[in-house]
Amino acid sequence: MKILVGIKRVVDYNVRVRVLPDGSGVDTDGVKMSVNPFDEIALEEALRIKEAGNAEEVVVVSAGGDECQQQLRTGLAMGADRAIQIRTDGPIQPLAAARALLKIVEREEPGLVILGKQAIDDDNNQTGQMLAALWDRPQATFASKVVLDGDKATVTREVDAGLETIEVDLPAVITTDLRLNEPRFVKLPDIMKAKRKPLDTVEFGELGVETGPDLQIGSHSPPPQRQKGIMVDSAEALVKELKNRGLL
């Protein structure tokens, strides 16, 4: 079996993201870029499945400008066997990403596609579900445990009510939640090995994928700041205030 893993280049989670004064976007000047953390978890899971003998090949795929090759190389250094860059000029929205991924899926015929549940930049949380819809295959989102058994996978999902378990036929799309695993550190010699692994580039324009209809992104603003509230002088007043507000 082959596993396809999606990787997105995003502003690192440690960066204090700030809206530009003119509202045209967020300040990405000189900020650190990384592999989306949920995608790292996706790749780690794929590598563990391969290491357990349940897959032969792990392929990482990313859509973006040539700068995203850096994140693909990180994926190769972690242990992916090869990489595919879908070259695009600007950002693409989830539906276009899902359509492009479907083209790669049709070409590669993976038994499993693992994606992060969301990218930490746009926080859209859509692409995996959309790919599953367009592919007409099962989806197991927000996975915290994956068990493979022949042509089936049993996936534990982190849902608001607790842990839900579902069984899906392969091929399927799995999206990862935080507790699925802890991604490995990259060994230094593996960075050198990654330089020699294949990285193919396909032009987004040549996949025959429509982009629209795209949502129109307007102005950005900083989140509203919390304001100082009231001070009370006793536990009695505190409880009364909370009761007035319907919180107790």
Partner: protein
């Protein structure tokens, strides 16, 4: 005139409160509001939905393959209902996040995720970068709007209405490739999960020791709340690391957050900035926590907590 369909979240017997929050968002958009209740044997849920103020009609679709909310089975059914509507809404809970993008893809549109504010019927505000920026997003002319509604941003629509309930046959079959196995609920008599609990009680360095942190556990249990801690309390070894709230711990958004003996370093505030109401109790009147607290009380937590407990009876 907008025609809005809300996909109800429920557990088979009762409506999830997120549905009533979606109704508030739908009212902000304006137009006819219908609710779709999918499942099996869901008459009671449909009746409950029909009582929500502002709802025009409840469409109930009962079928065996819809018993559990499997997106692969539900999405085609929701997409089949979509013809009559301009807007499709689901809550931004794990239920809605799982289902709605699959619906959007079947309809050939992108989804608006986590809508927190409505500008007009085609323009919305939503958070990106974990809430560190808010963007305005507009639907292209003539396309259907599919969205998830950020539940923390909307209040529940009140009950008091009496909409018609219309039962329909399912128009799609099951996908056949996805099976529901089981649900293990978080609670089980234990303390609620810190990440999703509506009420959280947290303690800081002022607790002084692991033994004294017991005061926080007991108070939380009395209120049925989850327990958190500041990094200082974790670093000092009073509680395990997975209880840490803040930048390097958990980012939470409970309806009510109690901060006892927490100074309120920016790293901690980052983890609670979306909380509904913050209550702070601290000996130090200058503590930065008071600058973000909705209700503050200067005092020693070891005397204040018993006093609060007494007030609560």
């Amino acid at each position: 005139m907008s025609k809005i369909l809300i996909v109800a979240e429920h557990d088979g017997s009762a409506l999830n409160i997120s549905t009533a929050k979606c109704v508030s968002c739908a009212q902000a958009i304006g137009g006819d509001i219908d609710i779709a209740v999918l499942g099996q044997g869901i008459d009671a849920v449909a009746a409950e939905a029909a009582k929500l103020n502002g709802v025009n009609r409840v469409v109930s679709v009962s079928a065996a393959q819809l018993e559990h909310p499997l997106a692969a089975n539900w999405a085609p059914e929701v997409a089949a209902l979509a013809d009559d509507y301009t807007h499709l809404l689901g809550p931004s809970t794990t239920f809605g996040k799982d289902l709605m993008p699959r619906v959007a893809a079947l309809l050939g549109v992108n989804q608006f995720s986590d809508v927190m504010e409505v500008q007009d019927d085609g323009s919305f505000k939503r958070p990106i970068y974990a809430g560190n920026a808010i963007i305005e997003v507009r639907a292209p002319e003539g396309t259907k709007v599919v969205m998830t509604v950020r539940t923390a941003s909307w209040s529940q629509a009140e009950a008091g209405g009496s909409a018609d309930v219309e039962s329909r046959e399912a128009s799609t079959g099951g996908a056949g490739h996805t099976r529901w196995v089981g649900l293990q609920s978080g609670g089980d008599g234990e303390r609620p999960d810190l990440q999703s609990a509506p009420m959280v009680v947290s303690g800081g360095r002022a607790l002084g020791s692991a033994e004294k942190f017991e005061v926080i556990y007991q108070f939380a249990d009395k209120l049925g709340a989850a327990v958190g801690a500041s990094r200082a309390a974790v670093d000092a070894g009073y509680v395990p690391n997975d209880m840490q709230v803040g930048q390097t711990g958990k980012i939470i958004a409970p309806d009510l957050y109690w901060a006892f003996g927490i100074s309120g370093a920016i790293q901690h505030i980052t983890g609670i900035k979306d909380a509904g109401t913050i209550v702070a109790v601290n000996k130090d009147a200058e503590a930065p926590i008071f600058e973000v607290a909705d209700i503050g009380l200067v005092g020693d937590l070891f005397t204040v907590i018993p006093e609060i407990e007494e007030q609560l009876g």
